[in-house]
């Protein structure tokens, strides 16, 4: 069984986001595999270690440097990679289209991907891909069992969890609680250098959405210090809560 894992290269989660000319600047930013996708890679490798998967293919759509994310996944233990060259500004629709095309060419039995990307947080791509391919889809899986051509997952649902079973091939998006991704060993890194990575151009599809403007969250205002007698202070603070912070107090 072939398992295909989708990974996105994102900013390090601790990176300091800065805007330059109205766009997010990537100067001096460390790029990583989207941590949610890292879990999907780990799950693919574990399926191979269990003897369920025979091959783990890592696919990433993005700029040329996204090959680093693919190499990291290969160092963890995936077998080969495909880099889909695409403008990083492509929206979820264009991205899903491009990836779905590669997936249908690769013809895996299972597609794994993180349920959300740490940068734009849109949670759309795996679901759109399942829709385009017409495959069953499980979203936000916290467990995964493969048997008799079926996948069974526990999933997060509002206020609880649900167990879903689908026939393969299917697209499954993973939650971080699914596993703990491994740290690539030097042995893995050395072997990864020899593993094949194909580069293909993304299917030319126009994005359906356009980002109009980026803005940073307002800077945290400095605190206000009050001094005086306890009784006066209490009045002052109450006044602040009511009139300046405008917090409604329910009775």
């Amino acid at each position: 069984m072939k398992v295909l894992v989708l990974v996105k290269q994102t900013f390090d989660t601790e990176a300091k986001i800065e805007l330059k000319d109205g766009k997010i600047s990537d100067a001096g930013i460390n790029m990583i595999i989207n941590p949610y996708d890292e879990v999907a890679v780990e799950e693919g490798i574990r399926l191979k270690e269990k003897g369920i998967a025979t091959e783990v293919v890592v696919v990433s759509a993005g700029a040329d440097k996204a090959i680093e994310a693919i190499r990291t996944a290969l160092a963890m233990g995936a077998d080969r990679g495909v880099l889909v060259q695409q403008d990083v500004a492509a929206d979820e629709f264009a991205r899903a289209k491009a990836l779905a095309k590669v997936i249908s060419e690769q013809a895996p039995s299972l597609v794994l991907a993180g349920h959300v990307a740490a940068d734009d947080g849109s949670s759309q791509v795996p679901t759109r891909i399942a829709e385009i391919l017409g495959w069953p889809h499980i979203n936000v899986a916290t467990t995964l069992e493969i048997a008799d051509g079926k996948a069974t997952c526990n999933c997060e649902a509002d206020g609880g969890s649900q167990v879903i079973e689908v026939a393969l091939p299917a697209v499954i998006s993973t939650q971080v609680s699914l596993n703990e991704p491994r740290y690539p060993s030097m042995k893995g890194i050395m072997q990864a250098k020899k593993k094949p990575v194909d580069t293909v151009a993304a299917e030319a599809v126009e994005s359906k959405t356009k980002i109009v403007e980026f803005s940073l969250p307002a800077a945290k205002a400095a605190g206000k210090k009050v001094t005086g007698e306890p009784a006066d202070l209490a009045k002052e603070i109450a006044n602040f809560i009511k009139n300046e912070a405008k917090i409604e107090i329910k009775k």
């Binding site: 990176a15 300091k16 491994r182 740290y183 060993s185």
Partner: protein
């Protein structure tokens, strides 16, 4: 003359008696080749086995220092006597045996060359020394037996029957020697016409003279007969002793000399992996891949247990016991495996075990050859338990290198097997992405300066770019640990008042890499270290003041391996220097009662014990020394990268930091003083846990308090 012998006489002048009254005495000069041959054969066999080691290490440089080391630690027993009672008893035993051995050599030389002549005063003096030291050796072995069998300290918990019969052999050799001497003197007394003809023996052989009293009632013939019998008995045992050396624990007599000569003479540092980019494997997975020094270490271990009784992991119930679960476990594995490796080498096959499988020994061979050093012999629990506190290496009288072995195995686990605790993975990822083990965004590395209001007191090089004498290598804790930022602040304020403006690299300062290296991630260490060295060189750094002892040890002792040579101070050394130069003036005497915790990386790894104490005392505090202080300092539990790993308390024991906290709070101090961010965190946790009122402060904070 062959069957005859020299009769025992009373001589005109005091004179050493060699071989008189013993028929066939000359025979021993032929028979001695038997034990010597066995000894040489044993030595050859052990050295062949040592040469099976694949790892390379250069330990034959600096010959002068090595010869001094050999003399100081063998003849001077300098490390052995660090443990007072057992050490001094061994000192007596060593010197007694050594001098008796020399005396035997002189006798042999006299037999062959008739030189030197020991007569008159020379004889009396020589004989006195041999007699007294021989007697002290006998006292020594008795006390050592008492310690092992009556006191039974925990460190000797693995006593074997061979320990007993070796003690018995040594005692019987010494005791029979005195009986022979006593018989010979008793016979001479009986032969003498007047007592004053022989009375010089009371001076020359004070203890032999006492033994002679035992035989006062014996006839002359009886004494002469017993003298002959015991003489041969004594020689047979002495020869047996020599033959047994390579095959029993007596082997330590030889291995200790090897180890005193080839010990690590450098400052404490992890072993360097050169050309890591081209390496084809990492760390040590098979025991034969260790260096010959590591293999000799296994032979050198005399099981004295000084490592065990000072190991924080062992003392809190962990799997690691440096003696038993590390060195002795490896020795047993090596002794079992080496014959197969030798057979394979002799057969000219690199992979000898495939060949062995064809022989009758196959069933026996398989388990040993298939045992995995890390998983089956030492176990990964043991490998991860170590805090690199260096207590084992500090107290080992044999200079066995425990930490390098642990680190080689960690390197294999991390870089080759990819098998490590999840927390270690997290720390590595954080160091890779944000250059600090906490994983806080690196872009804010200089933010603490503003936060603590000391931005203007330092020269933030990437922004201000001015001249500076000392670079403040603040380290990750000062930059990202809220509690430790206050220590950085205090240090900058103290320096500022002393008229010193540090240079600081801010975002261009990376983690020193100590935790990565000691957790086995050599590649990550070298990446971080190279970045730092590049930054240091960019700004022309010459002198560095490090806040954290881990940074200090790493930059001072390990960066030179990568070409980074700087004058490095720990900030306590720096403060002591400022104090001595009169640049620090205390405004008040704090007068607090406090205890001080020696961090392992400042203390044992770098022997900095006095400077922090000098600085603390200058604040007018009453420093109470705890029982485990200085070289005996007990680790806080965070060294060797364990800061980032969870420590689970073993049932019936406290965690390492809680154990240490109890020791530090024992004198009921108002404050506990540390010099390391890891120690501060660990001890603070411990103090909170017992709801003590004691404040945990760093040396810098104490000094700043006294200066205000």
């Amino acid at each position: 003359m062959i069957f005859g012998f020299e009769p025992l006489e009373v001589y005109d002048i005091p004179m050493r008696v060699v071989g008189a009254n013993v028929p066939y005495e000359w025979l021993i000069y032929i028979l001695m080749f038997i034990p010597l041959g066995i000894f040489a054969f044993g030595l050859y066999k052990r050295i062949r086995v040592w040469l099976l080691a694949n790892g390379r290490i250069n330990r034959i440089d600096k010959l002068g220092s090595r010869i001094v080391s050999l003399l100081v630690y063998s003849l001077g027993q300098a490390k052995v006597i660090k443990k007072p009672l057992a050490g001094w008893m061994h000192f007596f035993l060593f010197w007694g045996f050594f001098v008796l051995f020399i005396a035997a050599q002189i006798d042999a030389m006299h037999f062959w060359l008739h030189w030197p002549k020991l007569e008159g005063g020379l004889y009396i003096g020589f004989s006195w020394v041999v007699d007294v030291l021989g007697f002290l050796a006998m006292i020594g072995i008795l006390v050592l037996a008492f310690i092992r069998y009556v006191q039974k300290p925990d460190r000797l918990s693995d006593t074997k029957s061979s320990d007993g019969w070796i003690i018995a052999l040594i005692f019987v050799i010494l005791f029979s020697g005195f009986l022979i001497e006593g018989l010979r003197i008793a016979a001479q007394i009986k032969l003498a016409t007047r007592l004053d003809e022989i009375v010089y023996e009371a001076k020359a052989s004070p203890f032999g003279w006492l033994f002679a009293y035992l035989f006062a009632g014996m006839s002359l013939d009886g004494a002469l007969m017993w003298h002959r019998i015991l003489w041969w008995f004594h020689m047979a045992l002495a020869f047996g002793f020599i033959a047994l050396v390579p095959f029993t624990k007596l082997w330590h007599i030889i291995t200790s000399m090897f180890n005193y000569f080839v010990r690590d003479l450098e400052a404490s540092a992890c072993r360097m992996v050169y050309n890591i980019e081209e390496a084809e494997s990492f760390g040590v997975e098979r025991i034969e891949d260790f260096t010959w020094k590591d293999i000799i270490d296994l032979d050198a271990c005399i099981r004295c247990g000084r490592c065990q009784e000072n190991c924080p992991a062992y003392l809190t119930g962990k799997h690691l016991n440096p003696k038993l679960t590390l060195i002795q476990a490896m020795k047993a594995h090596w002794d079992a495996k080496a014959p197969y490796l030798l057979a394979a080498k002799d057969a000219g096959h690199a992979e000898g075990h495939a060949e062995m499988a064809m022989t009758a020994e196959a069933e026996e061979a398989k388990p040993v050859m298939e045992q995995h050093l890390i998983y089956d012999v030492v176990t990964s629990d043991v490998v991860w338990d170590c805090t690199n506190c260096r207590a084992c290496m500090e107290h080992c009288p044999m200079f066995i290198e425990h930490i390098p072995k642990i680190i080689e195995m960690r390197r294999n686990l991390v870089m080759w097997q990819g098998d490590m605790p999840g927390e270690a993975q997290m720390a590595f990822t954080n160091m890779e992405r944000n250059y600090n083990p906490w994983g806080v965004g690196f872009s804010n590395r200089a933010g603490w300066l503003q936060e603590r209001g000391v931005r203007d007191m330092v020269n933030l090089l990437p922004e201000d770019g001015g001249d500076f004498e000392y670079l403040l290598y603040a380290g990750c804790a000062v930059a990202f640990d809220d509690r430790y930022k206050r220590v950085g602040e205090a240090l900058i304020k103290v320096a500022n008042k002393a008229g010193i403006k540090f240079g600081y690299l801010g975002t261009e300062e990376y983690c020193c890499g100590d935790s990565a290296r000691r957790l086995g991630n050599e590649y990550l260490f070298q990446t971080l270290a190279n970045s730092n060295i590049e930054s240091f060189n960019n700004y022309g750094v010459k002198k560095i003041v490090a806040v954290c002892p881990h940074c200090y040890n790493c930059v001072k002792n390990e960066y030179p391996q990568l070409g980074g040579q700087y004058e490095v101070y720990h900030y306590t050394e720096f403060l002591a220097k400022l104090l001595a130069e009169g640049k620090i003036k205390m405004s008040r005497s704090l007068g607090a009662k406090l205890t001080y915790h020696d961090s392992c990386f400042l203390g044992r790894h770098n022997n900095v014990y006095d400077e922090p104490r000098t600085v603390i005392k200058a604040t007018g505090c009453n420093l109470i020394e705890v029982e485990r202080g200085r070289e005996f300092g007990f680790c806080c539990g965070a060294g060797g990268g364990r800061m980032w790993l969870e420590e689970h308390a073993v049932e019936g024991y406290k965690r390492i930091n809680d154990t240490r906290t109890d020791q530090l709070l024992e004198p009921n101090p108002e404050m506990v003083i540390t010099n390391c961010p890891f120690c501060l965190t660990m001890i603070n946790d411990g103090v909170k846990g017992v709801e003590s009122e004691a404040q945990v402060l760093d040396v810098a904070e104490l000094v700043w308090r006294a200066m205000q």
